[in-house]
């Protein structure tokens, strides 16, 4: 028994050491006074993660300090975001890469322990990726209107990358606005969803631009519309949904947005330093090239405007979640 106790002690001390080694301390004076943490509320490897690592790499130069990316995945993005909302001693040097999951998560789970708006400071929207309404090349529909007309009588299946993803919610929004008959078919991520679309098992999807761009270019998928407010420079011939002008689609403007937020105790000097650094980063050629690869546009809004954007986004998804019956 003694042995067991001593072994447990050694193990506990050792693992405590290993765990605490990854934590850092810092105090605010002139910002930044130490390493900056960028929390990614998703597991390594997704769009948010890849984007955050790219931005962190560039921010490192702009801020002249280490920017450490930390993945805090779980329950959509609500685990990582919830942790940030609780603050803590590093809150003055912690950023979080928020995405539609921030608003959609709050729309689906109204009982979250944090307020998705009031608990945070909204620094800047970094990048906007439009979703594209795509059908397989073999599909008989050549325009959004043709598709909607067909969907009045017959049921259409749309694929998405998981409940509460921007792809899923865009589909539900389309269904609600146009009154189409549509069934959501869930997949574990866009990678798994794509074969069903290419193979014609589902009729349509509202996929993120980078996932489908090369397939549109190769002719395996047909783009019927993009979901952003303006046409994408990468698909200049494809109309936006809002310019269709029928079936309430003028209200359909949505993008997969990514932006940096922080705890609402984030210092003023940090806020200013970050905005300055981000302005620098977003003009760098590496950043613009990266955005181009994603078929994305650099973010348009910052500060209060960004906050208002999030408030509007939240309200919209709350309505869609309610109507789609996925609000818990």
């Amino acid at each position: 028994m003694k042995k067991l106790i001593s072994a447990t002690c050694i193990a506990a001390c050792g693992s405590a050491l290993l765990i605490s080694a990854s934590l850092s301390t810092a105090h605010a004076a002139d910002w930044p006074t130490g390493d900056v943490r960028l929390v990614v509320p998703y597991a390594p490897g997704g769009t948010t993660d890849v984007l955050s690592r790219r931005v962190a790499d560039l921010l490192k130069d702009a801020l002249d300090t280490n920017v450490i990316v930390e993945n805090r995945p779980g329950a959509g993005s609500t685990v990582g975001t919830g942790r940030l909302a609780r603050g803590g001693r590093d809150a003055d040097h912690t950023l979080l890469m928020a995405s539609p999951g921030h608003t959609i998560g709050a729309a689906i789970y109204p009982d979250l322990a944090y307020d998705p708006v009031e608990d945070f400071v909204f620094i800047q929207n970094v990048i906007d990726i439009p979703n594209v309404m795509v059908v397989p090349a073999s599909s008989p529909y050549n325009s959004v209107v043709e598709f909607i007309e067909a969907a009045q009588d017959q049921n259409m299946a749309f694929s998405h990358s998981g409940v509460g993803s921007s792809i899923h919610m865009s589909g539900e929004l389309f269904k609600t606005l146009t009154g189409s008959n549509m069934t959501a078919v869930p997949f574990a991520g866009s990678g798994a969803a794509l074969p069903a679309l290419l193979g014609g098992d589902v009729d349509v999807s509202f996929e993120n631009m980078p996932t489908v761009y090369s397939h549109i270019k190769s002719g395996d998928l047909r783009a019927l519309a993009v979901t952003s407010a303006e046409r994408s420079p990468y698909l200049p011939d494809v109309p936006t949904l809002s310019e269709i002008g029928e079936y309430n689609l003028d209200q359909f403007v949505t993008t997969a947005w990514f932006g940096l937020i922080a705890h609402n105790s984030f210092p003023e000097e940090g806020y200013e330093a970050m905005q300055q650094a981000l302005d620098e980063v977003m003009e760098r050629e590496e950043f613009l090239d990266f955005a181009k690869q994603l078929g994305a546009q650099p973010g348009q809004v910052e500060g209060e405007e960004f906050k208002q954007f999030v408030i509007d986004d939240l309200a919209r998804w709350q309505e869609v979640a309610e109507q789609a019956g996925i609000s818990q």
């Binding site: 890849v50 919830g82 299946a157």
Partner: protein
């Protein structure tokens, strides 16, 4: 080939060689540390590739991937702690071998079968990518559903000893896999309001708890040092053994290739399917699970067979089959390349340079793996009273590191108790794991098929692939029943003989 010059120019750069070697070393090291997976290593290495040449960048990531795939087996064999989920199957025979004093043999077997499988997988990638990608596209939800059904029937062959206990274990695995969010409605199932369970039970803490902890409990409970017959590092794999395992390795590699080419199944499932298939066919069937060389070979061939093949849907269709290939896709995009049909038209030289590098990575894996074995096998000689506290430390850290969540440490310890009870009651862990892995795939593809078919059941028999899998599923069940009744008849005959 007119582009040969360009290909060689792209490939024959010292950066590429360093990138591959470094990648494999990082992969083997990280893969062998429980809780640190190849996925994490690839994600962490990604920013470093931004400033590298595209070929070197991708090869670094591929090297980590391949090294990690093998590295996971090292701790699985030595301390019964799978370094990565895909190596869970390797420990079924690898750890008993190490206990019997054949640690080095088990490690070498794992290495050789990994390298051979990796090589076969690369060949498939280079020569049959276009063809296999087409199959992958024809693999919709109903086809997947039947593939999973077939895979579930192989649990029968893994339920060593008692069929009832095997099925019980599988059902428990399926039950636990239901924890989390419903995939269609997003509602919470069996989470008891705990947000830590919303993303379902974390696989790595479960694995570590289930396998490593019971050994530690058992050691302190009995307070006896397990009897080791020879110096633990022992002898390597003999040529005769390699020959004997060759069929299983090749078959396992092909299973890995097919599963790797279809997005969304993964290396863990491939390892178990290959293992069960080898066991079913092997004359040494009864020795599986007790330290059978062929078991280690089949498991490792299965999971490494996936490695090259997952690049098939990525390169030819632009579809990432798992998280690692999704990260590699990100690396391509950072360098201004978009995997998919267009890349084959626009950047063919680059693809062939990559292929050369990927082939080379198998070779480097052999060299690095061999060096690693030399030192790692010494772990088996460390007295357990010193080793086990260190193992426990890594178990705790490993469980924590996956999601940076303390909840996972408790989860791991809870599964430690479950694993211990399994051992005491003779409930096999393998069917439990298969249930846990395949349960959600079964459910999701069933529901997906029904949604796509709008409730029309004919979707389940819609084409030749479904017919094929239906046939082998029922064939597999019939075969198992036949064997079961035959064994019973033999047993009753023997009893009659004894009585008479």
């Amino acid at each position: 080939m007119e582009n040969l010059n360009e290909v060689l120019q792209l490939f024959l750069s010292i950066d590429n060689f360093i990138a591959i070697a470094l990648g494999v070393v990082i992969g083997v090291t990280v893969g062998s540390i429980p809780g640190l997976t190849a996925t994490m290593a690839v994600a962490l290495a990604l920013p470093f590739t931004f400033s590298m040449q595209p070929v070197a960048a991708i090869l670094l990531l591929v090297g980590i991937y391949k090294g990690g795939m093998y590295g996971g087996s090292i701790t699985a064999i030595l301390i019964r702690t799978p370094g990565s989920p895909a190596s869970a199957c390797t420990l079924l025979d690898g750890y008993p071998m190490a206990q019997q004093g054949h640690a080095k043999k088990a490690l070498k077997t794992a290495l050789f079968s990994s390298v051979i499988a990796d090589f076969i997988s690369n060949i498939a990638l280079i020569f049959f990518a276009a063809y296999l990608a087409k199959i992958a596209l024809n693999f919709g939800a109903p086809e997947f559903f039947w593939l999973i059904c077939f895979s579930l029937t192989i649990i029968i062959s893994l339920a060593s000893g008692s069929m009832v206990k095997g099925l019980l274990a599988a059902l428990m695995g399926i039950l636990l896999s239901l924890v989390g969010l419903d995939s269609v409605f997003g509602s919470q199932r069996l989470t008891f309001g705990n947000y830590n369970l919303m993303d379902s039970i974390s696989f790595i803490p479960l694995l570590i708890g289930l396998f490593a902890i019971p050994e530690i409990i058992e050691f302190y409970r009995k307070k006896v040092v397990p009897h080791i017959k020879a110096k633990a590092s022992g002898a390597g794999m003999t040529l005769a053994e390699l020959k004997r395992c060759m069929k299983s390795i090749v078959r396992g590699s092909l299973i890995g290739v097919i599963i790797g080419a279809i997005p969304g199944t993964g290396a863990t499932a491939a390892a178990f399917i290959s293992y069960s298939d080898a066991r079913r066919r092997s004359p040494n069937r009864d020795n599986f699970g007790k330290g059978e060389v062929e078991g280690v070979a089949a498991a490792e061939a299965g999971n490494n067979g996936v490695a090259g093949a997952t690049l098939i849907p990525l390169l030819s269709l632009g579809i990432p089959g798992d998280v690692i290939t999704a990260i590699i896709l990100g690396a391509f995009m950072v360098h201004g390349l978009t995997p998919g049909p267009i890349m084959f038209q626009e950047n063919l030289s680059l693809i062939y340079a990559l292929f050369l590098g990927i082939m080379l990575s198998s070779l480097i894996l052999l060299v690095v793996g061999n060096a690693a074995i030399k030192y790692f096998s010494l772990i088996a000689d460390i007295p357990k009273s010193i080793l086990f506290p260190i193992v426990l430390m890594f178990c705790i850290y490993g469980a924590y590191a996956v999601n940076n969540a303390t909840f996972d440490i408790w989860l791991m310890l809870a599964f430690g108790v479950v694993g211990y009870l399994f051992n005491r009651t003779g409930i096999p862990a393998a069917p439990f794991l298969i249930g846990f892995i395949l349960g959600p795939m079964f459910e999701d593809n069933l529901r997906r098929s029904l949604l796509i078919g709008n409730g029309d059941l004919s979707i389940f028999v819609r084409g030749p692939i479904t017919w094929f899998f239906i046939a082998i599923t029922f064939g597999s069940i019939a075969f198992a029943l036949y064997r079961f009744f035959q064994a019973r008849k033999q047993a009753s005959n023997a009893r009659q003989l004894n009585n008479g």
